[in-house]
């Protein structure tokens, strides 16, 4: 028997695979394709206090091995999400992680305070790394002191464990991670998108209306793996890993790098069945590689004692 279950703060995951924030809406769309109960958990789109219109279109562009997006945290706002999206998810028996965003620390606190009281929210994920909004987001994600302050204040008002989602657009990801760990974060999510741009050579202008966008997809996987490898050795809180996951081998790579669970973003767009297919092929691949339990391989790339489980 292959054991896929992983236990993280606030999250009893029957398997380590969940959709990544912003790539799965609030679940409704993909529930047309399969039973969301198959998922390890669900991370919903970023929630802000007020409704957000997001950025003008075009909001996405394709690049080699990746895509840029600048959605701009469009969401119907805290009230609507409390009254409609979260209750809709109550029909499912999976942990819900709410991705929280804002312009100020108070915004993050306000959203966290309320969503963490919703009966089916198991954890919040602080999006301190959105590259696509002018205020908030990225600043919180590149200064360890500000990130720590934000974390501390949010943790104080949260009823559920707090995961902090780190930005890869920094020189020193380890100090960011340590800062938020010291400030009380229960876990980390990494990585968010790399800031990128694409120019249309016919017009000479950026393809995305917001000009820059966040790069996701297979192209960024090596950066994600490297950062998780570094951070997992430096902190003792668990990491939800993401960035370019397309195959079961990718998941194993994230776990071996040091992640305790993974999130799947862009791959959902390519195949709406991406998550359940990955869960299935993960079991199969683990059997092939003689891995009995996902928890056996977390951090295997750097752990000195790597007895192959039998």
């Amino acid at each position: 028997m292959t054991a896929l279950n992983v236990q993280l703060p606030g999250l009893m995951l029957k398997n380590p695979v969940m959709p990544a924030s912003g790539c799965f809406g609030f679940g409704q769309e993909y529930s047309q394709f399969y039973d969301l109960n198959e998922l390890g958990a669900i991370t919903v789109k970023a929630v802000t206090v007020e409704p957000r219109r997001g950025n003008p279109t075009p909001r996405v562009a394709e690049t080699d091995g990746g895509m840029l997006n600048a959605i701009g945290l469009q969401n119907p706002g805290l009230d609507h999400i409390m009254n409609h999206e979260l209750p809709w998810l109550e029909a499912y028996d999976i942990p819900v992680i709410v991705n929280v965003a804002g312009n100020t620390i108070e915004d993050y606190m306000a959203v966290t305070k309320r969503v963490s009281q919703a009966k089916n929210v198991s954890a919040v994920e602080l999006n301190i790394s959105c590259p696509n909004v002018k205020i908030g987001g990225i600043q919180f994600g590149s200064d360890p002191n500000i990130a720590a302050e934000l974390t501390r204040k949010v943790v104080a008002v949260s009823k559920v464990p707090v995961y902090v989602k780190l930005s890869p657009n920094v020189a020193d990801i380890v100090s960011m991670a340590k800062a938020v760990e010291a400030a009380g974060a229960d876990g980390l999510s990494m990585i968010n998108t790399l800031v990128g741009m694409k120019i249309d050579v016919k017009t000479g202008k950026p393809v995305i209306a917001n000009k820059t966008g966040g790069l996701s997809g297979p192209a960024i996987k090596p950066v994600a793996i490297r950062m998780i490898y570094q951070v997992s050795q430096a902190v003792s809180i668990p990491i939800i890993g993401m960035g370019g996951i397309q195959t079961a081998d990718d998941i194993l790579e994230f776990l071996m790098a040091g992640a305790s669970a993974v999130a799947v973003g862009t791959a959902n767009f390519i195949d709406p069945y991406a998550c359940p297919k990955l869960i299935k092929s993960l079991t199969q691949r683990m059997e092939e590689l003689n891995i009995c339990d996902v928890t056996d391989i977390i951090g295997r790339s750097w752990k000195t004692c790597n007895s192959i489980p039998s």
């Binding site: 809406g25 297979p218 390519i270």
Partner: protein, 258 residues
């Protein structure tokens, strides 16, 4: 909507850079509404990474075949154009809300206004309208006479008016040139084409109608919010938007900001 590997039955060049492809598969059963689209993964693997949205042009439910007509633009459509009979393409579809056909309109007249690669979805619509006993009057715009496709097919279904930008065939100018010159009688209009054309069409028409939009897409199913457009009532910081992929691509004229 499902995901299916559909097999290419045939592919042919309809005009310079414009291809028609016939696909076979079980999902054709679900394709009864004109104006819906497919989200096509042109190649396995990462290049290109994303799916490509292409409208359904015609459907043969009995043969489980559909056709699409598309213009070669970039990487995805170039690779698509190289597919040969027997190859497979991975299709997610049918997606979106198509053109509504009102059965009570039997005997009335619909005006179809299409430009360029906005024309294909109007063909299945025209067939469905005729089936429902609705008269079809069609206005199609092309760049030049060379670019014309689906002419005979539309001509069989009702009156057909063609404009070309250089006047090499039909009326010289745009579809709106025809709309302005002629005084069509119609009860509903249906339009698909480039944004400036849709804007001009909305400005020229009076009766209720429907427009079909294009927008860059991620998921194609309403989850990523890549493809939104504002409703005409949207205010700053409001949530009053529509998703082209799942609320559209067809909207009531006047519903969304073009």
């Amino acid at each position: 909507m499902i995901v299916e590997d559909m097999s290419v039955i045939e592919q042919s060049l309809r005009a310079p850079g414009i291809y028609e492809m016939t696909l076979y598969g079980e999902s054709v059963n679900m394709m009864t509404t004109p104006g819906q689209f497919l989200h096509i993964k042109v190649e396995e693997g990462i290049s290109p990474l994303l799916r490509r949205p292409i409208s359904i042009c015609d459907v043969n439910l009995e043969k489980k075949e559909l056709s699409i007509i598309y213009r070669v633009e970039g990487k995805g459509t170039t690779l698509l154009s190289r597919k040969k009979s027997g190859d497979m393409v991975n299709v997610l579809g049918p997606l979106g809300k198509g053109f509504p056909i009102h059965d009570e309109d039997e005997g009335k007249t619909a005006l179809l206004i299409g430009g360029g690669v906005g024309i294909p979805p109007l063909y299945y619509l025209a067939k469905k309208l005729v089936e429902a006993g609705i008269n079809v009057e069609t206005v199609l715009g092309f760049r030049t006479a060379h670019d014309i496709f689906l002419e005979e097919e539309f001509a069989l279904l009702g009156n057909l008016h063609i404009s070309t930008e250089d006047g090499s065939k039909g009326t010289k100018g745009f579809v709106t040139t025809i709309l302005e010159q002629s005084s069509f009688r119609y009860d509903t209009f249906y339009s698909c084409g480039p944004l400036p054309m849709l804007r001009a069409v909305e400005a020229t028409t009076v009766t209720p109608g429907y427009v079909s939009l294009e927008e860059r897409m991620g998921c194609g199913v309403g989850a990523c919010l890549a493809c939104v457009c504002d409703t005409v009532h949207a205010k700053e910081e409001s949530k009053d938007y529509r998703k082209v992929c799942s609320d559209g691509p067809v909207f009531r004229a006047g519903e969304v900001v073009l």
